[in-house]
């Protein structure tokens, strides 16, 4: 989505107007808005999700609990979940991809604030009808034999992809593993890459 230069100044003014009205009516305080914004700025983004994925790769029992009931498994990570979570697992034969066609539902409590492309019209319209072409836009070319499973999150459940663990990472700690796991991989538009030296070592 490009920003419309004709609308942008108006929108900024309108935002300020609305906020000032809510403030003078005593319905919100400027401090509360500022505090909320600084919380976003300290947002850890997709790190929580990455830690969960790394744990699942290392701990088969945790992985089973995670796939069984995502929200319950999250409790082990002390994540304040506000919605049920369904974790779907990628395998050599199946690739999962998550979208919300009707708005932009997103598992923010594990992945942070959503990227703009996730909320844009191109992704929302195309992920369901031509997921393979969308993955190509991300530079991911799947083998024809791989089945693509799309998840359109239209209700309260949020979806996160458990990506495939790359080869050659047995020597890494769980934290080092987590550092490899990208937000895009947990939405299902990328694979997790092993660090360059590990790949070379294979």
């Amino acid at each position: 989505m490009q920003y419309d230069p004709e609308q942008e100044p108006y929108v900024a003014l309108r935002t300020k107007a609305l906020e000032s009205l809510l403030i003078e009516k005593g319905l919100i305080t400027p401090e509360a808005v500022d505090a909320q914004i600084s919380r976003y700025e300290q947002d850890i983004g997709p790190l929580r999700g990455a830690q969960i994925v790394a744990r699942a790769w290392r701990d088969p029992d945790f992985k089973e609990r995670l796939l069984q009931d995502g929200a319950k498994a999250l409790a082990e990570f002390d994540v304040p979940s506000s919605a049920p979570l369904v974790v779907v697992e990628n395998t050599p034969d199946e690739h999962n991809i998550v979208v919300c066609t009707l708005c932009s539902c997103y598992p923010w409590y594990v992945l942070g604030l959503p990227p703009t492309w996730y909320k844009d019209f191109a992704y929302r319209s195309r992920a369901v009808i031509e997921p393979r072409a969308v993955l190509r836009d991300f530079g991911l070319e799947l083998d024809e034999s791989v089945t693509i499973r799309v998840w359109d999150s239209s209700a309260d459940q949020r979806y996160m992809v458990l990506p495939e663990c790359p080869e050659g990472v047995a020597h890494l700690t769980e934290d080092e593993l987590a550092a490899l796991i990208t937000r895009d991989a947990m939405i299902g538009v990328a694979k997790v890459q092993a660090p360059a030296q590990s790949v070379a070592a294979n």
């Binding site: 609305l18 809510l22 009516k25 808005v33 708005c103």
Partner: protein, 222 residues
């Protein structure tokens, strides 16, 4: 409603463009809209009303607007609908700020509002409900075209699928968006063959799962 927001399967929106090192917000006003949403939804209006307010945008405006512009539009729409602020107040304040960006504004809390006592309301408690369908059941979605809010996308209406997961009870968005009560129903993840939805345009062998409320579904005939 059959609105432009119901984008699944539409063509013409170009490639997906990924922004490297994207900032959390592209402008200060976006952050403030995001924070105001957190401070108003679940207090003056519910999340389904929030979503429906976006759908009420003029379709051309919707397509011209960035994500947080659409949020601003629905926060305004809902606050005006509920009577928390008026459009006239907003127009006047916007115009004042346009002419005098540093205008003196009334002090915090200096204007009375009956809404000060509004407290956050949680989603209502959900009763135990007996699911009509079980995993593996063949279902067909209703071919419905309500003028109001719904979460059954157009591309999945009148289509055959299979119950994949039984999620449990949830507030019914279609009524909750219109002040008609939470009316909880069981929600299911229904799996569709991509071919059932898209014909020859489908990704071969692919599937789509969509979360659907029980009243969207009927047992598949035959």
């Amino acid at each position: 409603m059959n609105g432009v927001h119901d984008m699944g399967g539409m063509h013409g929106f170009g490639p997906v463009v990924r922004e490297e090192n994207e900032p959390l917000f592209h402008a200060e006003w976006e952050a403030r809209v995001r924070a105001m949403q957190g401070a108003t939804v679940g207090r003056f209006f519910n999340l389904d009303e929030f979503r429906y307010g976006i759908e009420q945008m003029d379709p051309a405006h919707y397509l011209r607007s960035s994500y947080f512009e659409r949020w601003l539009a629905t926060i305004e729409y809902n606050l005006v609908q509920k009577g928390v602020v008026t459009s006239a107040e907003l127009d006047a304040r916007t115009e004042l700020l346009r002419q005098q960006p540093d205008a003196d504004l009334p002090a915090p809390g200096s204007v009375e509002s009956p809404w000060r006592t509004a407290e956050s309301f949680p989603r209502p408690d959900l009763p135990d409900l007996t699911p009509r369908f079980a995993a593996g059941d063949a279902v067909v979605t209703r071919n419905q075209h309500p003028i109001g809010h719904t979460r059954l996308p157009r591309y999945a209406r009148g289509k055959r699928g299979v119950i994949h997961l039984v999620h449990g009870p949830e507030v019914f968005a279609d009524t909750n968006a219109h002040g008609l009560g939470p009316n909880p129903q069981i929600v299911y993840s229904v799996r569709f063959d991509a071919r059932e939805l898209w014909g020859d345009a489908a990704d071969p062998g692919g599937t789509l799962n969509i979360d659907l409320w029980e009243s969207y579904l009927e047992p598949a005939p035959g």
